[in-house]
């Protein structure tokens, strides 16, 4: 797992850099809340890997050397919850933009809270590993019961500077559930 708990001196980012990254994540979340999906796509690099591993309840041997969260997550070559590249994301955005996606018409009301943002430099110039947590609340009215869902998780990103702007090259989303539980997927 990407971790900011231990950091080498050469990985330190400046306050200015952290502020820029924080602002970029907030803006990204806001674009999605405003349903500006095509604008959101412009924040991604065309070689993006955007994915969410599957997580399961695993019996441990009980000792701390067996507590690693990675052991609960699907690894390379295994089936993930979601595993997309730029073209896949373009298709998903095209579906949302088609005007015929019933899940989004009437649309969900969404609020994305992006928190615990931290970053460190990678060995590549202009590139950062960024960790954050999110809470997404979405609501859709109904007579019998309003449908309200709260989706929580953490993200491990790689943001890279292209031209003057930071763009997302990789994102692993770890949902705080044993699977994707919400019927229709939401970009996060």
């Amino acid at each position: 797992m990407m971790s900011i708990v231990s950091l080498q001196p050469e990985q330190e980012v400046s306050i200015r850099e952290l502020m820029e990254i924080t602002r970029q994540l907030n803006r990204e979340g806001q674009l999605l809340d405003e349903r500006r999906y095509s604008d959101w796509l412009t924040l991604l690099t065309e070689d993006i890997h955007y994915w969410a591993p599957l997580r399961f309840m695993r019996q441990q041997d009980g000792f701390s050397d067996d507590w690693d969260i990675e052991k609960e997550l699907s690894q390379e070559g295994e089936l993930h919850m979601s595993n997309t590249n730029y073209v896949d994301l373009q298709v998903r955005v095209a579906r949302l933009n088609s005007g015929r996606a019933h899940t989004e018409n009437p649309p969900w009301f969404t609020q994305r809270l992006i928190t615990n943002i931290d970053a460190r430099k990678t060995a590549t110039e202009g590139e950062y590993e960024v960790t954050s947590k999110f809470l997404l609340n979405r609501f859709k009215g109904g007579f019998v019961k309003g449908r309200e869902q709260t989706i929580v998780g953490s993200r491990e990103d790689i943001w890279t500077r292209i031209g003057g702007a930071l763009r997302l090259r990789s994102r692993r989303i770890i949902y705080n559930t044993d699977n994707y539980r919400w019927g229709s997927y939401v970009l996060m």
Binding site: Q59, L79, R92, R95, A101, T103, Y180, R181, G183
Partner: protein
């Protein structure tokens, strides 16, 4: 109304004898749901997982028979056992992991331990306390288990018919997926699980083969992939396609492909996944083997979707098995296993994962609109007028014919023949329970 008070005339009020008229009540009523729990989910054979998920002695997975949490385990002698996941002592959930390897299942409360076969093996302090406990009577509740080409089925009805008889005529069609090759068809991923704000019957009836919903429900996808429209036209051409209902209430939508196509065209995989030569090679080599395994006609038969009553759906085009698990009248869970062959190289397996994820995975392009519609059924039928309102499942009545070389009744591919077959079995399950209760009372 509990099953003990439910009569045939109550059943007639819910559903016509041809399955074309069903009451809105069956999708939203708690009492009907409780009747289903007794008459269907405690009685019918149900899919719980695949043999390769528990390939070695000691391997186990957790699954469900209706709402009952079960442990599916492979014992030392390689026999498969399905047991209710409830400690017989104080009722604790015994196994709390989704999968794993174990010698025994030990309860976290007082430490009673049970074997992979469900037998009670150990009670802490048994010797010191010298209390006389007959362990042979305190094993886990056991289900009957049988397999079908690597698929594990179980039922809590000790008198259930043999699984092969239960599957019946549908086997002819399921074989085109499960027996297509000498290589074994196995689980290569999952299960994915998601919650549906839906009655379990909505997904189950839909996946019998509802092609009628595709152009409307999935309009967003047709708009971005216009080519899909042609493919759907082909698959719903009555000259080659039919909605097949079987005597057992399983139903499926199928299509006989013309002769003389390139070999990979007979597989339900879209050409865009086959661009890489090595992937193309793997899939194009399957068809000659299929002819040998299935015969010429069946090797050209494409199974689109199928539901084995009550809740196992098969979607070969998306490489997956779907289980719709009931959780009350308004909720269910969808579990999805991705299927492949045991000789798939890593890159072919990745392709199968991708082909599945793209359409029916949690972020697939087809999945969300179905879930939305099924949630809307619950919503729509929860108002007071729905209790006495009938719904229509009569499309394409009178289009049914028999075909000499293929079992089942064949109806127009855009009809609702499969829905009706599903509801006739639903009706028959409840009628049988009413009859059992009456004969039970007389004796």
């Amino acid at each position: 109304m509990p099953l003990t008070k439910f009569t045939m005339s109550d059943l007639d009020a819910l559903m016509s004898a041809d399955g074309a008229r069903v009451s809105g009540k069956i999708f939203s009523d708690q009492e009907i749901y409780e009747i289903e729990r007794e008459a269907i989910f405690k009685k019918c054979w149900q899919f719980v997982g695949c043999e390769n998920q528990i390939g070695e002695a000691g391997h186990f997975i957790r699954s469900r028979l209706g709402e009952q949490d079960v442990i599916v385990a492979r014992a030392e002698d390689m026999q498969i056992h399905v047991s209710a996941n409830i400690c017989r002592h104080r009722g604790n959930t015994l196994c709390r992991a989704d999968q794993g390897k174990a010698k025994r299942f030990t309860c976290t409360y007082h430490g009673w331990s049970f074997g992979l076969d469900g037998e009670l093996k150990g009670i802490p302090m048994e010797r010191q306390l010298e209390w006389d406990i007959d362990k042979s009577k305190l094993g886990l509740l056991k289900a009957k288990v049988e397999t079908f080409h690597g698929l594990i089925f179980a039922t809590f009805d000790p008198d259930a018919e043999p699984l092969r008889d239960f599957i019946g005529e549908a086997a002819f069609y399921l074989d085109t997926m499960l027996q297509r090759r000498k290589a074994k068809m196995v689980v290569i991923g999952g299960p994915h699980k998601w919650d549906l704000e839906a009655n379990w019957k909505s997904p189950a009836e839909n996946m019998t083969g509802d092609f009628y919903h595709v152009t409307n429900s999935h309009a967003s996808v047709l708009k971005i992939y216009p080519g899909l429209g042609d493919s759907i036209k082909l698959m719903t051409d009555q000259a080659h396609a039919s909605f097949v209902s079987t005597e057992q209430g399983h139903a499926l939508n199928t299509f006989v492909m013309p002769k003389g196509l390139p070999p990979e065209a007979y597989l339900p995989i879209e050409p865009r996944w086959l661009e890489k030569p090595s992937i193309h090679k793997y899939f194009s080599e399957i068809q000659p083997e299929a002819e040998e395994q299935l015969g010429e006609l069946r090797s050209r038969l494409r199974l689109n979707t199928c539901t084995i009553f009550p809740n196992l759906s098969v979607l070969p085009g998306a490489f997956c098995l779907r289980l719709t698990l009931p959780k009350g009248p308004h909720e269910s869970e969808s579990w999805c296993w991705v299927m492949g062959y045991d000789d798939m190289p890593a890159e072919v397996r990745d392709t199968a994962h991708a082909a599945y994820l793209d359409v029916f995975g949690p972020d697939g392009i087809l999945e969300p609109d179905d879930a939305e519609n099924w949630a809307n059924v619950v919503e729509g039928l929860s108002g007071p007028m729905a209790k006495d309102m009938d719904l229509y499942a009569g499309l394409g009545m009178g289009t049914e014919i028999s075909k000499p070389d293929m079992p089942g009744i064949h109806a127009h591919p855009l009809s609702e023949a499969g829905h009706r077959a599903f509801y006739l079995r639903w009706r028959a399950q409840i009628a049988a329970s009413i009859e059992n209760k009456e004969t039970g009372a007389a004796s």
